[in-house]
Amino acid sequence: MTKVTMTVNGKAVSGDVEGRTLLSSFLREDQGLTGTHVGCDTSQCGACVVHVDGAAVKACTMLAAEADGAEVNTIEGQANADGSLNVIQQAFQDHHGLQCGFCTPGMVMSAAALLKDNPKPSEQEVRDYLEGNICRCTGYHNIVKAIMAASGQDVPAMAAE
């Protein structure tokens, strides 16, 4: 076991991990932050996306030991200081961007990473950025609408409608 220390949602945390402990396991099992979902074992679904030093990564495909000293942000740190939903979360609610909600933490974290780099993305840029986030319920249209709305743009009329 080795000791790791990192900042999670602004708070310094530490714990003992094995070499093989995934960042997702550390967050969920050690830290009790179960908002980071694990949907696959193959690095493909994106339900586990968190930010490490500002970059979106799949927490299931990074070792906790590699995040030693890093700044990690998860879905639990996304709400506003008063506990209300942030702009992206609120937009997902307003535009019905979730059904079962399993993919939503990863979707919101990917959307936050996108809007940080590209505050006014086109619809196509939103769709491209979500390539690694799989949703089995919504068919994606309402997720794209929510992200467009969260960026302060008109919600596009979707081709399928």
Partner: protein, 260 residues
């Protein structure tokens, strides 16, 4: 996953020493290796994490040559732009989270038959720089998942000559986002090089007939008369060998038309 220790060297020398341990294995971005470990297809005793080796990070341009550190992420190459076709290739590997972790050294060491970087390295005539030597791309790729790397050898950098014009055309396999077939075309003063990924059971390879035709006339029409044999091409549920053979020619034509 079986358990292992994690070493985090800060220099190439420390990394090379750590790789000398019994059953040690390099860890780049982990975007291939961690899923492999989860399936218990590998059981290293030590993973030597290369992401913290400063000498293996970053991109420097020296005239018509670009040096990319072996632990540089796909996202960093995508953002660079000094070799536009290479940056465009990096920008379409997997998805943003994969690009934020995955590294060029890891991709070339793995030499997946459907990976993108091997096509760029081979078509550009890149040089693979390791902790012990330099290997020309023509000698480096030795078949599916096979490379010239010795046990414990680390890719510390890759040097790309920047062509006059180049383009990578990828027909995406929609489930994996790897290339079903991808073709990288690079035009240099002394001729054109064409490398094909995703298609062959032998892994990435050059297409000599197309190179000759395009060196004489760099236009999509120059390959009209050529045909690609389906012999020894990959056949799976995503596409037959004949379909891949067809795609090789179509992707080559598109790459030439788009080359800049």
């Amino acid at each position: 996953m079986y358990n292992f220790d994690v070493e985090k060297p800060g220099t190439i020398a420390e990394a090379a020493a750590a790789m000398g341990a019994d059953e040690a294995q390099a860890l780049g971005g982990g975007q291939t290796l961690i899923p492999t470990l989860k399936q218990r297809l590998a059981s290293p005793s030590t993973l030597v994490s290369l992401r913290g080796v400063a000498e293996m990070q970053g991109i420097t341009r020296d005239g018509d040559s670009l040096r990319i550190g072996g632990a540089t992420t796909h996202a960093a190459v995508a953002a660079d732009g000094s070799y536009p076709a290479l940056s465009a290739l990096a920008a379409h590997i997997g998805d943003p989270a994969v690009r934020n972790r995955g590294t060029i050294g890891g991709s070339l060491a793995n030499n997946d038959p459907a990976a993108c970087y091997p096509a760029a390295a081979l078509a550009s005539g890149a040089t693979i720089v390791t902790n012990t030597r330099e290997i020309a791309a023509d000698d480096y790729f030795q078949g599916m998942f096979e490379t010239a790397l010795d046990e414990g050898e680390i890719i510390t950098a890759v040097r790309f000559p920047i062509p006059q014009a180049a383009h990578y055309e990828k027909f995406v396999q929609p489930a994996s986002r790897f290339a079903l077939v991808g073709v990288f075309v690079a035009k240099f003063a002394d001729g054109v090089r064409v490398a094909v990924t995703g298609a062959s059971n032998e892994g990435v390879h050059r297409w000599a007939e197309a190179e000759a035709a395009l060196s004489a006339d760099f236009s999509a029409g120059a390959i009209d008369g050529l045909s690609v044999s389906a012999d020894n091409l990959i056949a799976d549920l995503h596409g037959s060998a004949a379909y891949r053979a067809h795609l090789v020619k179509v992707m080559t034509g598109r790459a030439v038309s788009a080359a800049s």
